[in-house]
Symmetry: C2
């Protein structure tokens, strides 16, 4: 058999490999919001978005009898997720399982072909080393727990038909598995994004959130010095230490800065990307038509990495 | 990315590769009957059976609007079938799509792990060269069309709720695609099996079918000379030419031979396999409790190949 199998590698080497980005974080950490802006900016014709939270081993009914939640790796076909990420990363299509959030059932799988860019969002894409190795850029969304709780209550009560009490109970039930399986993926991220109010400031309610982006030296980040020199109060970069003591650049994007200043910065970054078009207005868009300039700048930084990796 | 991706090959080389057998042929050619005897003989704990007719791109409703039948490669995810065969052949699990024959819908996929032996049956597993290269042994079932028609009418009217007229209409509709896509796979088979009455003999109705097994020199077949020497009228081997003129051994298993003679042969072949147990009575079993000694001998020959390849 081995001599026969050797033949099958021939086609693999000829395949175009996509640029792969992982957007990872706990439930309601903002993954879909970031992803949808990136897909629109790149154009759906050259971008494939995949949510890997569909690799459930059990449907909703079966999960009721289990001693763990959907966050647990044993509740998911993690090996198959890893395999499908490897296939996509090497330019192959996959038949992705589909979980229907409305009925809570596993349904007809979906044929997914990698375009130039593949954006993978989900709870566990960085759970294993092999899965993490499939990505060119990895992002971990790390909002403070009280903000994530608000976001989750808002989404699950308005879009998924749960009551506030049910969401709070589910958050409590998931907490130990979140700590054990979701949050440790932070260490595998090239960029850690934290949307929050700035500590120590007492901005009035309604002030847009700021963002802190930890830029790890695991990938080459853009040289922001020229842009930052004209950036006024919108953004600054500090050399600091991560939770574990490792040196890291922290990019602070200030939600309280005047919008015009932030927009100037965004235009400068967009122009540097060489797409040759106007800055798209939908970058920074939140659900319900609101805007966040710190989200826009985060998306622009990720676009920089995607386009850079494609070169 | 390339340096990251190199890591993922490490685990692959360490994986145990299964022995892969393909049982290929048109609808109702006898694939499932042969397969189920092999699975029972090897034991389900060391054997995985996979039907690759579930890789439908469209469900029954969608197919009604299409200009081709389910036999057409474009009606199936052939690329994904090929990918899954490659994964199984290299020891990896797959999440196999599932087509529900009762409802005509695509449903929840199934996790399939390759055991020591993987038996793949279906309409198109030898359609592409890369898919065919995944197998250690390939078998094409080639009954005369009038026999296959009888088998299909019997099965589809008793087990799948169709009328005789519907089955005949479907056979006519499928014939061009059968000629174009199914039958050409015969050339990729190591063994071609033809169950039929012996031409030129006028055996009484009810005489069990004989079998002609073309043993192509693409794999190493067992030395049957010692067994055949004591075989009486049950079996003989002739050197002949295939349809295309290529030399081939033809093993003739005579359905009209006395059952005791055939059973002696079967016991001798089974003993040679070294399983150390009694000849299993279910080899040669047909639907509805009937027996066919030519089926039993065909299964024994395939067991020889499977066990030989595993050594």
């Amino acid at each position: 058999m081995p001599h026969k199998l050797m033949r099958m590698h021939r086609t693999d080497t000829a395949r175009e490999r996509p640029v792969m980005l992982a957007i990872v974080g706990d439930s309601a950490a903002g993954k879909t919001t970031i992803t949808s802006g990136l897909v629109r900016a790149l154009g759906p014709e050259r971008c494939t978005a995949v949510c890997v939270d569909d690799y459930h081993r059990y449907d909703r009914q079966e999960r009721k009898r289990l001693p763990f939640t959907a966050l647990h790796p044993d509740c998911n076909y993690i090996g198959i997720m890893e395999q499908h990420l490897q296939l996509l990363a090497t330019g192959h299509p996959v038949l992705k399982p589909v979980y229907d959030h409305h009925t809570g059932t596993l349904t007809r799988p979906q044929y997914v072909e990698p375009r130039d860019f593949v954006i993978v969002e989900g709870l566990l894409p960085l759970h294993t080393k092999l899965a993490a190795a499939c990505f060119d850029v990895t992002v971990y969304l790390n909002p403070p727990e009280e903000i994530r709780r608000e976001w989750k209550i808002k989404r699950d009560t308005t879009q998924r038909g749960y009551t506030r009490e049910q969401v709070l109970a589910e958050l409590a039930r998931r907490e130990p598995e979140s700590a054990e399986y979701i949050r440790p993926q932070r260490r595998r991220a090239d960029v850690v994004v934290r949307f929050s109010a700035v500590r120590g400031r007492h901005d009035p309610p309604g002030t847009p959130l700021s963002a802190e982006l930890l830029l790890r030296p695991t990938i080459r980040h853009p040289d922001l010095s020229a842009i930052l020199a004209g950036g006024g109060s919108s953004m600054h970069l500090t050399l600091t230490r991560d939770e574990d003591g490792r040196p890291v650049d922290a990019l602070h994007v200030h939600g309280y800065a005047p919008r015009e200043e932030s927009r100037m910065l965004e235009k400068a970054i967009w122009a540097g990307l060489g797409e040759g078009t106007e800055l798209p207005g939908f970058l920074g868009e939140l659900d319900g038509g609101q805007r966040s300039e710190s989200l826009a700048i985060t998306q622009l930084l990720l676009l920089y990495h995607l386009l850079e990796a494609a070169r």
